[in-house]
Symmetry: C2
Subunit: 329 residues, 2 copies
C-alpha cells in the first residue's frame, strides 16, 4: 500500500537533525561505492524542462527517483517515488518541493559539520527564501550558533525572515541592509539566492571572505544563474562539492570561474570522500573554505526515506490501495 | 487532481483500435522531430534492475515517464506517470504491466499496417502469454484476419489461448503442436516468447520464412534472450524497427545476427520514417519482411494518454487530491 504525502505531510514529517544524519549515512554508503547514481537527464519541453534523477542504494536496500518539471510561466513541480530496493515494492509518492529545500539544507549541514571551524558560532545569510531557511536550520543543527545576520534586497522579506527564524531556532537574527554587513565578522556564510548577475548583482563576492570563514553556496544550480564570483574559487583553500562532475558542468558560477582561470581542480574535495574519511575538507583554523552544491539523487532518496519513515510513525499522509501489478517471470 | 489507475482500470480503459491510432499519431510526431526521447537509463540493483524511460512530446503537449524494476525473485513492477507538457501538471499515475503488453501489441499493429501484405488474412503465433494475446488483437485490428494457428510448448496453455482468443476476436484459432506448423502457410507471423536459446530452443528460424510473409518479433528485448535466429535477418528484405539504436544494442537476437554476419544496416527502416512516409517498409508482394521491437518512451506516453482519456470518459480509477505543490519562480 503506497503512501501519498502532500506538502504539509512532508513538512510535518521533516526533522532536520534526523535528515542530516540519514543523508550523511547515504553519503557514507556512496563513499563505499555501492550506489548507482547516473548523471541526471534533462529533457527540454516547449517552455521549460523535465528532469529525472534516479538512484539505487544497494547496501541500504533503498532506491527511488525524483522527477521535476518547470517553466517560467508555470513554476516547478517535484515528485519523489521511493522503493524497497530488494522487493521492488513502491513505498511512497511524495511532494518534493519542500523536501528539496530541506535536503539541500541538510546537505549544507553535513558539509558545514566537516568544513566549518568547530567553534563557529555566527552565521551571515544572503537570501530570505525557503532555502535560506532550511540551510540556516541545518547549520544550527551542527554548530552551536548564537547569532546571525540576514540580507535580502526586499526589506520586508529580510525583516520577516529575522523574526520568524529567530523564533523558530532560538537564535538572535538581525536583518541588515547590505550583503557585506550580513557576512562581515561571521564564522559561517550561507548564500541561498536566485541571482543571475545579469540585471541584478551577483549575491556574494570573494573579496568579502574572511580568515577561517566557511562559505556555503547552494544557488546558481543552472548555467544561466550566478551567485558567487570567480574570486571565491580563488580565495578558498578547499572547495567541497556534492558532485564534482555536476557542479563543474551545471553551475553558472563554475563556468565563470573556469573562464576567469580561478578553477583549480586540486582544491576540490567531494562530500563522499570527506564523509568517508579519505580527505579533509579543512586543514586548519585559518583556511577559508567553500561548499558548493547542486544536489544529487542520493540526497533525494535518503531524504525521501527519512520523511517516509517519520510519516509512517506519525500516521501522516494517505495510504492508497496497491495499484501496481506484481508480474512474475 | 491526479488519477490513479490500477491494473483492472487500465485493462477496462484499453481499446486496442484506438491505442493503435494514438500511438501512430505519436510516432508521426516523432518523425517530425519534435520529440525528446533519450536512451533509457538502466540501473543495476542488488538482484535485478531499475529502469527509467522519460519522453517529452512537444507538439502534442504530452510528457511522461515509465519506471520499472524487476528481479527474478520478485518479478516486475511498472508505473507510468503522465503530465500536461505545457502546464507541468501531473495527470495520472497508472500500473503499466498490462499497458506495456498492450502498447507493444499496438506497435506491432502499426508495423503490420505498413509492412504486411494488404490482403494478409492468416496469422501464425508462437507464444501464448499476455504479449501473444495483445499482439494478435492488434494484428486483427489492422488486417481482416480470418484464421490463426498457435504454438506454445505447453499443450494446455496453447489450447486455452486458442479457445479464449477465438471467442474474444471472432477468428478461428487452432492450437498446433510444433512452431513450424503454426507459421506454415500464414501471411503474418507473431513471435512473442521468453525463449533464451540456452536450455530451450530459439522460438523461430529464418528457414521457415515464406514468400510475402511478414514476421513480427517482440521478444528478446534483453541481451540474455534469444527469440529469432540470425537467418531471419538474412532472409528479410526489409527490417522495420521501433528504435534502431536500441534494437541493435539491447536485443540478444541483434547481437547474434551481428556475430553471424547477417546484420545489414541498409535493410533497416525505423518506424517513424515509415509512418512519416519517408521510406517504404515493404516494396512488393513477394518480399519477406520483419518487424523487430524493443519498446520506446513514445509508445508508453501515448498509450498512457490513450488509457487516461478513456478512463476519464468511463469514470474509472481513483482521483486523489492534488499532492504536488506548485512552486512559482
Amino acid at each position: 500500500m503506497p503512501l501519498i504525502l502532500g506538502p504539509d505531510d512532508v513538512k510535518r514529517a521533516t526533522d532536520m537533525g534526523r535528515m542530516i544524519d540519514v543523508i550523511e549515512a547515504g553519503i557514507r554508503e556512496q563513499a563505499a561505492g555501492r550506489v548507482v547514481l547516473p548523471l541526471r537527464q534533462n529533457l527540454a519541453t516547449s517552455n521549460g524542462f523535465f528532469r529525472v534523477m534516479p538512484c539505487v542504494m544497494r547496501d541500504g536496500g533503498r532506491m527511488g527517483i525524483k522527477i521535476f518539471n518547470g517553466s517560467v510561466e508555470h513554476g516547478v513541480r517535484y515528485i519523489i517515488l521511493i522503493y524497497d530496493e530488494r522487493s521492488g515494492e513502491l513505498l511512497a509518492l511524495m511532494d518534493a518541493a519542500y523536501l528539496t529545500a530541506a535536503r539541500t539544507g541538510a546537505t549544507t549541514g553535513i558539509a558545514t559539520r566537516y568544513q566549518a571551524r568547530a567553534d563557529a558560532a555566527s552565521v551571515g545569510i544572503i537570501g530570505s527564501g525557503l532555502e535560506a531557511r532550511t540551510n540556516l536550520e541545518a547549520v544550527c543543527a551542527v554548530r552551536k550558533i548564537t547569532r546571525a545576520k540576514v540580507f535580502s534586497p526586499n526589506p520586508d522579506r529580510r525583516a520577516r525572515y529575522a523574526t520568524e527564524m529567530s523564533a523558530r531556532l532560538g537564535v538572535s537574527i538581525k536583518a541588515v541592509d547590505t550583503p557585506q554587513a550580513a557576512v562581515k565578522d561571521t564564522d559561517i556564510v550561507v548564500v541561498a539566492t536566485n541571482t543571475t548577475g545579469k540585471t541584478d548583482l551577483i549575491a556574494y563576492y570573494g573579496q568579502w571572505m574572511e580568515r577561517g570563514q566557511h562559505v556555503n553556496s547552494i544557488g546558481a544550480t543552472g548555467g544561466q544563474l550566478r551567485e558567487i564570483d570567480p574570486q571565491c574559487f580563488a580565495r578558498a583553500a578547499r572547495i567541497q562539492v556534492d558532485s564534482l562532475a555536476q557542479v563543474r558542468e551545471e553551475s553558472g558560477d563554475s563556468t565563470a570561474a573556469i573562464a576567469a582561470g580561478t578553477w583549480t581542480e586540486a582544491k576540490f574535495v567531494e562530500l563522499p570522500s570527506v564523509v568517508g574519511g579519505q580527505v579533509l575538507a579543512r586543514e586548519d583554523e585559518n583556511q577559508i573554505t567553500l561548499f558548493k552544491s547542486v544536489g544529487t539523487g542520493v540526497q533525494d532518496v535518503m531524504a525521501g526515506f527519512a520523511v517516509y519513515e517519520q510519516a509512517m510513525k506519525l500516521k501522516l499522509g494517505t495510504q492508497v490501495a496497491t495499484f501496481l501489478e506484481h508480474k512474475l517471470f
